[in-house]
């Protein structure tokens, strides 16, 4: 069940290119599954709330890890401990946690967010994380992920951290030699599309994005082309979709 509450800000920490906002939201923390998200009321200036993956859960607290890209996220960055903001969640279907060994996780840039919690919960399955960014500023807290993953492969477009290039290159190599039980993915749609092509036959769990008004299924605004024809709502039919359900060519 989703809850709507005024959450107290615990902390706002810079994380290289991103920011981690920690909120006190007991009922959301208690019920959240990895891959779910929250709608955060961003500011009086931003009329609609903004969707963010839940990154961490810790007792009564949840965190989101986000990039400041516009008026809503700018306002979130300016929050201070003691302020409050409205939060609605947990929302969306969340990842299906499989039980095979060496699941693969593919994260592009701020697409790392939902995997903070996921890797912790599936660390017994020895996940393999492919984590790419434009520069090292987009690769946050690799030590955290190393703790929970069997392997961590980092790529940056400018070579400032890990291997230079796109993460789909080492991923392609890996998939030539291994057949993971599932590929979890979050990042730019173009990246996910490429991963979908590589995945061929392997079960996929991709976290998709769309502009949202409500986040819980009532506005039908957040649709993406999915299934044989027509659209599916990212917020409630997703945000986690199997790659083969998406009509990638119709994605704008």
């Amino acid at each position: 069940m989703a809850h709507y509450l005024a959450a107290r800000v615990i902390s706002v920490e810079p994380l290289k290119s991103y920011v981690r906002l920690t909120l006190e939201a007991p009922s959301i923390a208690a019920e959240m599954r990895p891959g779910q998200f929250v709608m955060v009321s961003a500011s009086p200036e931003a009329f609609l709330a903004r969707p963010f993956s839940i990154a961490h859960v810790d007792g009564d607290r949840i965190s989101i890890v986000f990039q400041a890209v516009g008026c809503g996220t700018d306002w979130l960055v300016a929050l201070r401990p003691g302020n409050t903001t409205k939060v609605l969640g947990p929302l969306g279907n969340g990842f299906c946690l499989g039980d095979g060994d060496h699941p693969v996780i593919v994260a592009g840039g701020r697409g790392i967010a939902p995997f903070y919690d996921l890797v912790r919960r599936i660390s017994h399955l020895s996940p393999v994380l492919f984590y790419g960014g434009r520069t090292k500023e987009q690769i946050v807290e690799p030590e955290y992920f190393e703790r929970f993953c069997d392997r961590l492969v980092i790529t940056t477009e400018d070579g400032s951290a890990g291997r230079q290039g796109f993460l789909t290159d080492p991923l392609a190599d890996y998939l030539q030699k291994n057949t993971p039980p599932v590929i979890y993915g979050c990042g730019p749609h173009a990246m996910l599309h490429r991963v979908a092509e590589l995945a061929d036959g392997i079960r996929t769990e991709f976290s998709m994005e769309a502009r949202m008004a409500c986040g819980f299924g009532i506005c039908i605004g957040c649709v993406i082309p999915a299934g044989e024809s027509g659209y599916r709502r990212v917020c409630i039919d997703g945000p986690i979709f199997g790659a083969k359900d998406i009509r990638w060519k119709d994605l704008t």
């Binding site: 609609l48 709330a49 957040c222 659209y231 409630i236």
Partner: protein, 306 residues
């Protein structure tokens, strides 16, 4: 609380707070947050005979104190609604109003007849005003004759309470309301969204895939209050007001302008409990002033009293 009930034709609503069409789906998701039997009623998303996939994304864009939408009357069609959604809605005890759509007068009539024949659908709201359809945003509600002809025809197709939902994208909304009344509507509801547009200055692309979209939210409230006022002075059937209501205070403004009931649309997106909060606020306001709802309907006064 007593004195909050509202009559729309033969239908009695237990209170004047309704959920607006297109802003609460078919009740399933919003029903997880609020008790649908506690409010006056729910107007479900517009329905045609057949399912429709709606417009391509992007479908929404935020604007100052409002939003543009171009959902395009995506929906499951009246039959699927009745089979898959209505039973759940009936279980909640909600008063159910169907927002009736059609590409042709025939289709409007067909949908209306199905609604008329179906238990558990309490009233029809005729959507003569959806601005997202083709033709530069035109709709029957932009024209007196088209309104009269359509409402008359549907009036013959159903004995259930019939509400005509008006478009604000017109010169003289009162005259359209009058046509609807003359054609036999039991009530009018207004306003639907204002036609708007926004453009991405990096790409030149419109922010919704269809170019134009419908503007809703607090930004349009002053326009909605004005139109409710104009219509309420003109017709003698009940007026259901909406447009940017986000607090109980806004709701009181609409009652004072002449609305006998109100609908909450966009604000549900931001706060799923808001309709209950608004209902409570209205009750508290009336109790504190020892008034009944009827006492404040249309009580507004032009300019300061001396």
């Amino acid at each position: 609380m007593e004195g909050l009930d509202v009559r729309i034709g033969s239908l009695s609503l237990k209170n004047p707070v309704l959920l607006a069409s297109g802003c609460v789906g078919y009740g399933e998701e919003i029903g997880r947050f609020i008790d649908l039997s506690a409010i006056g009623g729910i107007v479900v998303k517009g329905l045609y005979m057949k399912p429709r996939i709606g417009n391509p994304p992007p479908r929404i864009w935020e604007t100052p104190s409002g939003m543009l939408n171009s959902i395009g009357l995506s929906g499951i069609g009246i039959h699927a609604f009745i089979q898959e959604k209505l039973p759940l809605l009936r279980e909640t005890g909600a008063t159910v109003i169907v927002n009736v759509c059609g590409e042709t007068e025939n289709e409007y009539e067909e949908v209306s007849r199905v609604c008329d024949a179906t238990d558990g659908i309490h009233a029809l709201e005729l959507n003569i005003s959806c601005p997202n359809i083709k033709e530069n945003g035109r709709c029957p509600g932009m024209n007196r004759d088209a309104t009269f002809s359509l409402v008359s025809r549907i009036r013959k197709a159903t004995k259930k309470p019939l509400i005509a939902k008006l478009s604000p994208n017109i010169t003289d909304i009162a005259s359209i309301a009058q046509s609807a009344e003359e054609a036999g509507a039991d009530a009018v509801s207004l306003i639907n969204t204002l036609l708007g547009m926004a453009i991405d200055i990096e790409t030149g692309e419109t922010r919704t895939a269809t170019g134009m979209g419908g503007l809703s939210g607090p930004a349009i409230r002053p326009v909605a209050v004005r139109m409710v006022y104009q219509v309420a002075r003109t017709v003698s059937i009940p007026v259901i007001g909406m447009g940017g209501i986000s607090t109980w205070r806004d709701a009181i403004e609409f009652f004072m302008a002449g609305a006998g009931a109100i609908q909450i649309g966009t604000t549900n997106f931001i706060n799923p409990h808001v309709s209950i909060e608004i209902l409570n606020g209205i009750q508290d306001y009336l109790v504190s002033r020892r008034q009944k709802l009827a006492d404040i309907i249309g009580c507004c006064h032009i300019g300061p009293r001396r």
